[in-house]
Symmetry: C2
Subunit: 249 residues, 2 copies
């Protein structure tokens, strides 16, 4: 029995998110199916977190218990050969038996991409909007999110009933050629949280509401107080950090 950890990259476009569901194409479903074929036995893969339908991952971290030994480079090649073109394994290592990709994750990093130009090439990976956003408003709104806060207002209703407190270590907007990237780093994220944060900040930057609304939105703990969710195709799970750092260095 070996506890193996893997970094996965996937294009979320054609997936109904991470979590396995009957009759749906999901990343977990497609990945487990290949692993089970390879090992000839049912297996269960644990991810650092579930990504929603349409959300991409550059560095999702997962683990599973391998029933028998296989050289890691052979496993790596075999999996990439078997997996569909929209999922790839970037790295594999063997970890302590108690390692758990979700429970042991310390910091999760997300990116959200916005494009101001209509670019057919790569349109699957950014939210296109014609009018430019006010950068000062965006940065101001982002600052209110840092620290330990209750994110109920940015959480899909009826989900995660218990603890909705997340610690945001850092978040900022970066100017890119013809667009923007929002970077956010936290200990955990609730369902659709980054997308509803981005959607709310975009409304502020468009002047629909002031950036100074942010503390009040957090305080009322009500999803109705926040703005609409940004579309999933601009969002990337960038990387996940554990006690000992980033898997693979």
């Amino acid at each position: 029995m070996h506890n193996l950890r893997l970094i996965l990259e996937y294009d979320g476009t054609d997936f109904q998110g991470w979590q396995q569901q009957p009759d749906q194409r999901t990343v977990q479903g497609e990945f487990q199916k290949r692993l089970e074929r390879l090992y000839g036995t049912p297996l269960r893969v644990i991810a650092s977190g579930r990504t929603d339908a349409g959300v991409h991952a550059l560095g999702q971290v997962v683990n599973f218990t391998a029933p028998h030994t296989m050289p890691l480079d052979r496993l790596h090649q075999a999996l990439n050969g078997m997996l569909p073109p929209d999922i790839a394994v970037g790295f594999i290592d063997e970890v302590a038996p108690e390692f758990h990709a979700r429970f042991n994750a310390r910091r999760r990093f997300y990116q959200y991409h916005i494009s101001y130009q209509k670019h057919p090439i790569g349109r699957q990976y950014a939210w296109y909007m014609r009018r430019q956003l006010d950068m000062n408003t965006l940065q101001q709104a982002a600052k209110y999110l840092i620290g330990c806060k209750d994110f109920t207002s940015f959480c899909v209703a009826a989900y995660e009933k218990e603890n909705r407190i997340c610690e945001i270590f850092s978040c900022q907007w970066e100017t890119k050629q013809h667009g923007l990237v929002f970077h956010i780093e936290g200990n955990r994220f609730l369902r659709a949280m980054v997308r509803s944060i981005v959607g709310t900040m975009v409304e502020m930057a468009r002047g629909v509401r002031p950036a100074t609304d942010m503390p009040r939105i957090l305080e009322v703990q009500n999803r109705q107080a926040a703005g609409e969710s940004a579309p999933p195709h601009g969002l990337f799970l960038e990387k996940v950090i554990y006690d000992e750092g980033l898997p693979g260095g």
Copy 2:
């Protein structure tokens, strides 16, 4: 009557190439349909050249005769709003009545992208191969293509029966992170020519045949002498240059 010139970007993935065909989704078909709706009259769009099914364009140049006046920025916005997400207009100007996007094009630039890593994000835009290619062989093979040559051996049979002489001004391979890009600049290109050139060079770099075969392949003027065509999704029409330079500077 105004002769308008436009630069188009498109993602070739879901098109059966540039040229309009009944019951097929083509770039020309989708583009003309929008223009005709906008002007309320049948129109014909001329491109610098036809791109094959699956081939992308960053800077395809087209022209058409507009039956009535419309401010160019309004036309630009209207078209981008009407066009599907996989076609965009990047630039428009009015040109002399005799300008013809194909006949007046002086230099056409293509890029071919190869990736050595399985990357789900952006996999639509590069040919993925696991084993690295010998760069010296690739560069050596490319050098034989420069100058005025008959490219019958790199042309789809039964197509373009007449003049198959093209002048290649420059071509070279560039090393990129986790892959390569082939750049080629010529006065004209035959159908599937860049893809069969790339496919043949890849066979050489894999040791299937020596790079020194290139002069003989050109000389025999027979498609059977060359290698298989590289897949279309790695190929981009980058830009087209006219007597007065690149449209839009």
